[in-house]
């Protein structure tokens, strides 16, 4: 029966030693260990959260960059398009103006040519008339040397007029 009979001496020693061990372990071992574990867990959690946040932010920035790049691309395209349009417009305008100018120049040239022609014609006419007068004078001088011939001519002229 000694097996299941508590022994008072051992009981006292056990209470004393177990109590002391509990007290010392709690004070010098468990408290710092549990505190360190908790702190480490907190730190790990915090760091994980921070890493996640940084990752999110980076993604956001990357997304922003992409957006900016896309915008820039569109802008560039627009600018190119505009430039092209302007270029085409300028060319078109220049062409148009050149055409008008050319036409004007041609017109003017034609006009002056016409005028020159007219002048030339007039000149020729004048000269012709002068020449014809001279010729007529000469012919008349020559023809009207005698009276017969004068008569003859006058008759002939009269006839001509009649025919006209």
């Amino acid at each position: 029966m000694e097996l299941i009979k508590p022994d008072i001496g051992l009981l006292i020693w056990m209470i004393v030693s177990f109590g002391t061990v509990t007290f010392l372990l709690i004070k010098y071992a468990w408290k710092p260990i549990l505190k360190a574990l908790k702190e480490r867990e907190n730190t790990i959690e915090k760091r994980l959260l921070a890493a996640k946040k940084a990752k999110d932010e980076l993604a956001k920035i990357e997304f922003g960059n992409e957006k900016i790049t896309a915008l820039a691309k569109i802008e560039r395209e627009n600018m190119l398009k505009e430039a092209k349009e302007i270029k085409a417009g300028i060319i078109e305008e220049a062409r148009h103006e050149a055409k008008i100018e050319a036409r004007k120049i041609i017109e003017e040239a034609r006009k002056s040519v016409e005028k020159e022609k007219m002048d030339a014609i007039n000149e020729i006419k004048n000269q012709i008339s002068e020449l014809s007068v001279i010729i007529a004078q000469k012919i008349l001088k020559h023809e009207l040397d005698n009276k017969d011939k004068q008569k003859q001519l006058i008759n002939k002229l009269i006839e001509d007029i009649d025919l006209n």
């Binding site: 009979k5 177990f18 071992a29 549990l34 702190e39």
Partner: protein, 342 residues
Amino acid sequence: MRRSWLKILSVLLLSLFICNNSLAQDHSVENDSLGHKNEVKEKFDVGEFIFDHILDQYGWHLFTYHHKHITIPLPVILKSKSHGWNIFLSSKLEHANGAFIEKPLDLSITKNVFAIIISSLILLILFISVAKTYSRRIDMPPKGLQSLLEPIILFVRDDIAKSSINAKNYERFTPFLLTIFFFILLNNLMGLIPIFPGGANVTGNITVTLVLALFTFTITTITGNKVYWKHIFNAPGVPWWLKAPLPLIPFIELAGMLTKPFVLMIRLFANISAGHIIVLGFFSLIFIFGNINAVAGFAASPISVLFTIFMSVLELLVAFIQAYVFTFLTALYFGMATEEHH
């Protein structure tokens, strides 16, 4: 982690082999010595052999060599009204004379007390050094001993304390649960080592388990909140006539308060003692057969050793399971005592 366990396991197995050998020598020689003393070959007494190892002793018997008992003498401390304090070494016990009139108060440092002191020192040195490592290596991964013990500490904290006690209170109880877990575990394991400083049947001693249960009971009772006491004296949802003239339910609940630690005490004591008794029983088969016939003794020894090894490995498992069960139930009782009313 796994490698460390393997290391521990292999060391334990090795020590088992060694112990088997030393015990074998020990007892065959002891047997001889007894036979020598009485001039007749005395029969091997299994009960005496087993209880010699299970029960507490005044000295710490290591082994017997050439008919000589090699024992660590431990102080015997007695106090009586007639003789006052008497302190002497256990080696002088046989020669001590003088009878006490009444039964003296025995405060001797017995084998178990000495084993408790040794294991307490091991616990203190181990965990205070680990705690120092923790405060030195802040926010760094565990290293060395720390990495062996951290999973167990986390297991006790998360799977025992946190799962049984509510979130507000579990941190308050975790240190005690850790103490009780490692105290029981270390003493269970040291009980499996048959040579000094192991071999004392500490957790298989009813006084030791009584004290452990007493601590649990005291803490449960002190920390018990209103809900806990109300549940005992005026359990909700129970018809009044079970409580009013004859306080049947309160009586049962009060008895339950006491049975809980009582069961804790019996469970640990019985499991560890039974394991030791079976191991020793298997082992003494060699000497029982050897007493009949030397050949039979030799024939029985391999089987007996095999059984002993099997039981020792089982005991190793039981050492962990019992430490876990005791701590887990303690945590459950703490949880009940501090449960908030929903």
